[in-house]
């Protein structure tokens, strides 16, 4: 339990009247390599503690690191996608400090010689405005192990009876992407922060270098925030909110820190340079450890590793493996699919671009693909607390369903029933429709009989329609559909009724 007295915060509008925010974002990404950064151990998530370890990642006396070439290639591809320069020659450095779950008591990282540097990422905000975030650098390093504090009520080290360390994560390759100070965002700072992380996440996913699961910690964001009084030129003191692990939290944490800083500054206080912890449940940050620029990591070039000198041929080859930038791809698809900006944004937010692309490729119309995936399926998934990928529904199923609707074999409500059958594992849409006897009645004779019967049974309503109140026909349509057990084309029913009552 963190016992904290709530910090004072200033309302957001007041913050913006008086101050300009400056942000610096540091995003750690666990690379999805099969083996660790400096040894051949597996990197799978969730294995039994300490089963994916060896003398190297345990830092045993005598063990030596060897650089994972795939991790280097991933770092270079990330750099190229972020419009960075790639170092012709760089080194690893040792960052010396004590940490209980860091087996060597130094972290092998990069210091003044990062593998890639000086780039940018264009970030599109919700209203379509594009904000350019400059990238300072991206460097390679290794992850630490994980501590588990046993006993005590909080799972924190205070009050614990003992601590256990799992070194499975120790040595997993990380790339840390560091922005330059982001200025000029004004009120949009929290939004820019979220959009940056979201855009980066999409990019890394498209690069296929990481599973970018923020909730599992394979992508984590440290947000540095400071405020400058309006008109000032000197940067304010910053705080660093560590390991924020969702897009929403990034936005909230930045906003919270802005409001907290402003309250401190307004009260005549000064900001303490420190790390902060974000609390998802309460929406506040609490003080971590003080951090000064004087933190002395005693960096020096890692003597156990030879320098990394990627050849220009390698860099050129890696450049050809870059995917289409997500922003460009989005524009291209939106235009091809004929979606409005709003529709495209819905699709993006639902994370349904890939699946819609596959569904359209399988023969569905873009409109139907969007309707099914971001409508019915998304709604059901949401209700059941699942993701659409948890269902047995494939893009081919949706395309098949759309084909049946277009051919007039199913109406909308029948199509929903068919989809339900597919979700329940009853087979393909065709198989479900056959098994459940769902097929629009094409026999005009039966339909005409039902129409005549309903007119005869409801003379009052029929007269209203005859008198010109055409909207009253709806009640009759419902009756006919009921008589037909729903297996009639509603448009056709309407047509028949109007024909009978007005001619």
């Amino acid at each position: 339990m963190t016992t904290t007295t709530a910090d004072a915060v200033l309302p957001y509008d007041e913050v913006l009247e008086k101050y300009d925010p400056v942000m610096g974002l540091e995003v750690h990404v666990e690379l999805g390599t099969a083996t660790k950064m400096f040894c051949g151990c597996a990197t799978g998530f969730g294995a039994d503690p300490n089963t994916q370890t060896c003398p190297v990642c345990l830092g045993l006396p005598g063990a030596l690191p060897v650089v994972n070439a795939v991790a280097v290639e991933s770092a270079i591809r990330i750099g190229l996608a972020l419009n960075c320069q790639v170092a012709e020659w760089c080194r690893f450095a040792r960052k010396n400090y004590f940490y209980p779950d860091m087996p060597k008591n130094f972290q092998t990282s990069q210091y003044d010689e990062p593998i890639v540097f000086e780039g940018y990422l264009d970030v599109e905000l919700d209203d379509g405005e594009v904000f350019r975030v400059d990238i300072e650098r991206a460097h390679m390093e290794e992850d630490t192990g994980k501590s588990l504090h046993v006993g005590g009520s909080t799972g924190r080290i205070q009050g614990a009876d003992y601590s256990l360390v799992d070194y499975n994560r120790a040595g997993i390759p990380l790339v840390e992407i560091v922005t330059k100070p982001i200025q000029g965002t004004g009120e949009r700072a929290p939004e820019v922060a979220r959009a940056f992380v979201a855009t980066l996440r999409d990019l890394l996913k498209a690069l296929d270098v990481s599973d970018v699961k923020m909730e599992q910690g394979s992508m984590r964001c440290d947000a540095n925030v400071s405020l400058m009084p309006k008109g000032a030129t000197k940067l304010g003191t910053r705080t660093e909110t560590k390991n924020v692990n969702s897009l929403r939290s990034v936005e909230r944490a930045v906003r919270y820190e802005m409001c907290r800083h402003a309250a401190v500054l307004d009260g005549g206080g000064s900001i303490l340079q420190e790390t902060r912890h974000w609390h998802e449940d309460t929406g506040v940050t609490t003080s971590g450890r003080p951090k000064s620029d004087a933190d002395d990591y005693r960096y020096f070039p890692e003597p156990d590793l030879v320098p990394v000198a990627p050849s220009r041929e390698l860099v050129d080859r890696l450049r050809t493996t870059l995917p289409e930038p997500p922003a460009e791809r989005r524009k291209r698809l939106q235009s091809a699919w004929g979606y409005s900006d709003l529709e495209m944004r819905d699709v993006m937010n639902a994370g349904a671009v890939e699946i819609i692309q596959e569904t359209v490729a399988a023969g569905a119309s873009p409109a139907a693909a969007r309707k099914w995936w971001t409508g019915e399926l998304a709604r059901r998934a949401n209700n059941e607390g699942k993701s659409v990928s948890d269902f047995n529904v494939t893009p081919a199923h949706v395309a098949e369903l759309d084909g049946m609707v277009t051919a007039g074999r199913l109406n909308d409500s029948m199509a929903r029933q068919v989809l339900e059958g597919v979700i329940d594992g009853e087979g393909s849409p065709t198989a479900v429709a056959d098994a459940r006897g769902l097929e629009l009645v094409q026999d005009d004779g039966a339909l005409e009989a039902a129409v005549d019967q309903v007119i005869a049974d409801n003379p009052d309503v029929a007269d209203k329609v005859r008198d010109g109140k055409v909207q009253a026909v709806g009640a009759l349509i419902g009756q006919v559909m009921k008589a037909m057990k729903g297996q009639a084309d509603a448009a056709k029913v309407r047509e028949l009724l109007v024909q009978r009552l007005t001619s």
């Binding site: 830092g59 045993l60 006396p61 063990a63 060897v66 020096f300 003597p303």
Partner: protein, 511 residues
């Protein structure tokens, strides 16, 4: 029949091949010798009779089946205790690793095992290889077989003493600033530091990663070359390992041809400051090389003067980082601070390090931590690295004029135990001739050049060659060795060790 322990490794290998003796016999003979004399010499920290004999039996068995074996198969060996040996203790001469048994073999140990060399045990050393006398071992000093009251050199004094005392025909040493060559010089044995990266460092408990190099300790140049080929060669587990075949060192040692070779005498590492007897033996050896057809040139390496200072910044800096892992949490010694009820991890760590590290280790950790600190880095570590570059340039220029460079290996013969223990600077000066090779990463070899007149103790002759030209130094070394043996009528032999030759009281006083 000649006592097996008096034979060189090549001679033992020869008799094994001809099946005149078995590996079990050779191994047992050395174990018996260890039992007889190691109480006085204290070359070993751990003896693995069972494991060595099992390995010997296996190689005998394979030989009897007619299997193709490595040239040194069946020849026993001792390994410096800084090298990880699976299932056998490895302490690096430190209390902080007392009782630690590595779960893995160093690459060079795997290669020894694969080549069928029975491992007799682990040899004594200065704690974490910091020292030039083996007096900084947490387990007590080793003694020089030439005079048990004297140091056997350091940090690999145990390996050199074991070879000099006929306890092992071969031993593994590591050389960070001279820890193979300087002990060889003061014990009258041969020690070779290969080119940096020539032998894998995987499994060597690091002292200073950019300087450490494992290599052979033997009684002949040919033996050193034979062992070099077994342990050398590329290792994918060591990023700094050279990705090229081992130079033809055995062929060079057998050929021993120096006709027309240019021998460079480095002005800065001979003459003034060197013990007259050592200097004299050095000059006579140079003359022998000239007699055999070599040409002598004098070369100057002016930045060598700064070498010692640079070394004593780079080494502690890297060591302070390498030794950070010894935190008493996962293996080795753990000490609870006295008078603290429930100590924190930091308190346990501090108490353990206080008890587990010796004075010399603490001195260098503090020095290194300081030298790497922000604000001091550029003035110390950065400057030292620049000196290192200049030293490499000096060597490059010298190797333009000469094929190999020569000097006395150590400025003096073995000093008495305890003499320099309170004077770190005097101790550090012992490595003044050997350190430049480590800073530049080039290979170096020391072989005995005779006994100094003043004290009748061995003097060492050092041969340095350009990087990856280890074969050159073996060729010159073998030629000089042959010339000296001809002059002496055979190898130098230390006085006979009989039990209890050392004064036990003197030994106790040093612990």
């Amino acid at each position: 029949m000649t006592d097996i322990t008096r034979l060189t490794a090549a001679e033992i290998a020869d008799r094994l091949t001809r099946k005149e003796i078995s590996s079990v016999e050779a191994t047992q003979a050395h174990l018996d010798r260890i039992a007889a004399v190691d109480g006085d010499v204290h070359a070993f920290l751990h003896i693995d009779s069972e494991g060595a004999l099992a390995a010997a039996r296996e190689v005998d068995d394979r030989r009897s089946k007619g299997e193709a074996l490595s040239p040194l198969a069946g020849v026993p060996i001792a390994v410096k205790d800084v090298v990880a040996t699976q299932g056998q203790p490895t302490t690096a001469g430190s209390k902080i690793l007392e009782g630690w048994i590595p779960p893995y073999d160093a690459t060079l140990v795997s290669r020894l095992r694969a080549a069928g060399l029975p491992i007799l045990g682990k040899t004594n050393m200065d704690e974490f290889a910091m020292g030039s006398s083996t007096e900084h071992s947490a387990y007590g000093p080793s003694h020089n077989p030439w005079d048990l009251e004297r140091i056997p050199g350091g940090s690999g004094g145990g390996s050199a003493a074991a070879v000099a005392a006929y306890e092992a025909p071969l031993a593994i040493g590591t050389d960070t600033g001279g820890s193979i060559r300087q002990p060889a010089a003061v014990t009258g044995t041969v020690g070779a530091k290969p080119t940096y990266g020539g032998v894998s460092r995987y499994g060597l408990i690091a002292l200073a990663s950019s300087l450490d190099q494992a290599g052979p300790c033997t009684r002949s140049v040919l033996d050193a070359a034979l062992l070099h080929e077994v342990i050398g060669g590329h290792d994918p587990m060591d990023s700094t390992s050279i990705d090229a075949p081992v130079p033809p060192v055995i062929a060079a040692a057998r050929k021993a041809d120096i006709k027309g070779l240019r021998i460079g005498i480095v002005k800065e590492i001979s003459g003034e400051g060197f013990q007259p007897g050592v200097q004299q033996r050095f000059e006579e050896s140079v003359q022998l090389l000239v007699d055999r057809g070599a040409e002598v040139v004098e070369v100057s390496c002016p930045t060598f003067k700064q070498g010692l200072a640079a070394y004593y910044l780079i080494l502690p800096s890297e060591a302070s980082s390498n030794l950070a892992k010894f935190d008493a949490m996962r293996y080795g010694l753990r000490v609870s601070p006295e008078g603290v009820d429930s100590p924190s991890a930091e308190q346990v760590m501090a108490a353990s390090r206080d008890a587990g590290f010796g004075d010399e280790v603490k001195r260098r950790i503090i020095l290194g931590t300081y030298a790497l600190s922000s604000g001091y880095y550029d003035a110390y570590y950065g400057q030292a690295q620049k000196v290192r570059t200049l030293i490499a340039r000096d060597f490059a220029a010298a190797f333009e004029k000469a094929d190999v460079l020569v000097s006395p290996t150590a400025p003096t013969t073995a000093f008495k135990l305890g003499d320099k223990l309170d004077d770190p600077m005097a101790m550090y000066l012992n490595d003044v001739a050997t350190i430049p090779a480590n800073l530049a990463g080039i290979p170096g070899l020391s072989l005995p050049s005779g006994l100094a007149d003043e004290d009748a103790l061995p003097a060492g002759f050092q041969i340095l060659a350009p990087a990856t030209r280890d074969d050159l130094m073996y060729g010159v070394g073998a030629a000089l060795e042959a010339a000296l043996f001809e002059k002496w009528g055979g190898p130098l032999t230390p006085p006979e060790l009989t039990s209890a030759t050392a004064e036990p009281t003197a030994k106790e006083a040093l612990r």
